[in-house]
Amino acid sequence: MGKIWVLAEQSHGEPATVSLELLTAARGFDADVQAVTWGAGASDAAAKLGEYGAVKVFDAGDLGESLPGPRVSAAIASLIESEGAPDALLVGQTYDGRDVAGRLSVRIDRPLLTNVVGLARQDGSFVSEHAIFGGTQVLNAKFTGDGPGIFVIRAKSFAAEPAGGSVPEVVSIEAPDTGRSDGARVKARHEEERSGPQLDEAEVVVSGGRGLGAAEDYAMIEELAKLLKGAAGASRAIVDAGWVPYSHQVGQTGKTVKPTVYIACGISGATQHMVGMKSAKNIIAINKDESAPIFSIADLGVVGDVHKVLPKLIEAIKAKQ
């Protein structure tokens, strides 16, 4: 039986949701599922990683002020030498996940596939699924050379389901000093207070686009999101315009969300946006332009001005609460 490694990110001992999603996906293949983790509190994360299917956890330890990219990729490369290569390495497409996967691909000289939204095994090869052209087409790809295949997988591609696994064996591994490539130092970490859920984990997402007209009007989006205990998202257009930070962006170059309801306000529905939200269970769209593409996928479409509809909607919801 082969093995699959999952790069398991964690913060304060709590595994990232995407890592639990990948462990769940890895369990679907006939292979031992093993996790590679790092950082302060990593050993606390082990029990939960086991619950989701990891039978062994390799812990590269606290990296201090180092960024994960250089040292974790070096740790995985030496783990491949000592333990043998896994059939596949699954990495969440996160800020740090991309850094680790990119550096590892150079270190072990293997290509990688990113923006993966599904994974299957056909005739012994892993075949990845990718949503292209705004999610209107599905592309399947595979590696042709020697493994291990590095698959960088978008969050929300799989549902995270616990398997009731026991506490796994934790093996400490070394995260080597990589010299000059490890020159960057994290001097301070700022955690912004968030009143609601994380964007890609929220059951309700309210997003704003160009139709808001001005950066100040994004406050309406935040207020509605808060009232519905949801998260505030954004189209690429207003992120590019500097109205809101990149971390709010929904779409191809941002986050994928799959909430119970997605409320698109003043978003026309460029293909690059729709690929990130079209899997929402319910979609409500408000846009002035009746020919906006977003209406083609909306369960409820309101042709109207967000500046008129949103204040009334906010008042009506407040009145109910």
Binding site: L67, G69, S73, Q93, Y95, R98, D99, A101, G102, S105, V106, R110, P111, L112, L113, T114, N115, Q122, I132, T136, Q137, L139, A141, K142, F143, T144, G145, V152, G179, R180, G183, V186, K187, R189, H190, R194, V204, D240, G242, W243, Y246, T253, T260, V261, Q272, K281, N282, I283, I284, I297, A298, D299, L300, G301, V302, V303, G304, V309, L313, A316
Partner: protein, 259 residues
């Protein structure tokens, strides 16, 4: 301070995009434009060079058919020159192959800092800059939302899930810039005229001493298995707001038990 900016010239994303049926890769014939995502890196580079008291901003690009139209846009913004790698042998290159080419150019021009976007708009693999850094043996700081330089270091506010980290790195380094963090300048008429005569050095794979088997189709070591139409999502009810559309939305939210 000499800054190099990796810029991609892409098919206009607002136009009809298609896959070449024989290769299943994006059709890149016809005019290419500067990827909007890269305009932030170009602007950032111009500002950093200026704040450091001078230095050149050089563009690095890899594109088919000697394409320079996107480069001219960035040159018109104020970049001093460009290095373009164009070679039929590069068709089909993946992110790693592309990073090899960019690394060879960086080694040739030896900038103090390399900037890039977090990902391109057309391929959006999102790993080329960090692969470039690893090939060079350089540090990298990805997802920068604010960048400052001193003569021998760069200080970055790096986007994280929870907020941001303050990261410093010695130079040379690779930094990726998130969109929207600076306002790209519009090229002036004078800038556009000047851009026409700015130097664009065109190189091939052999000029850079790269083994052709490490780039292009052969280097990519991956293939498209199939492409099919995705399941379509149907549209539902569309109403025109007559002053009461908010009630419709409330009703809908109640039905799905969000309210």
């Amino acid at each position: 301070m000499n800054v190099a900016v990796c810029v991609k010239q892409i098919p206009d994303p607002a136009g009809e995009l298609s896959l070449d049926p024989s290769t299943n890769t994006l059709v890149r014939e016809g005019k290419l434009i500067l990827d909007d995502s890269d305009s932030y890196g170009v602007e950032m580079a111009l500002q950093l060079a200026e704040s450091a008291g001078g230095g050149d901003v050089t563009l690095i690009s890899m594109a088919p058919n000697g394409e320079t139209s996107g480069l001219r846009t960035a040159l018109a913004m104020g970049a001093a020159g460009a290095v373009l790698v164009s070679d039929d042998a590069l068709a089909g290159s993946d992110a790693l192959g592309t990073a090899r080419v960019l690394a060879a150019v960086v080694q040739r021009i030896q900038p103090d800092l390399v900037l890039a976007a977090t990902e391109s708009t057309d391929g959006y693999t999102g790993t080329t800059p960090v692969q470039l850094a690893e090939l060079l043996g350089w540090p990298s700081v990805t997802f920068a939302k604010h960048v400052e330089v001193t003569p021998d270091s760069v200080a970055v506010r790096r986007q994280t899930e929870a907020g941001y980290d303050e990261v410093t790195s010695p130079l040379p380094a690779v930094v990726t810039v998130t969109a929207g963090v600076v306002e790209p300048r519009y090229p002036s008429f004078k800038g556009i005229m000047a851009a026409r005569s700015k130097p664009v050095e065109e190189l091939t794979v052999s000029d850079l001493g790269i083994d052709v088997s490490r780039v292009g189709w052969a280097g990519a070591r991956q293939e498209v298995v199939s492409v099919q139409a995705a399941e379509e999502r149907q549209s539902g009810e569309i109403v025109t707001d007559e002053g009461d559309a908010h009630e419709k939305i409330v009703g809908y939210l109640e039905r799905i038990k969000v309210l």
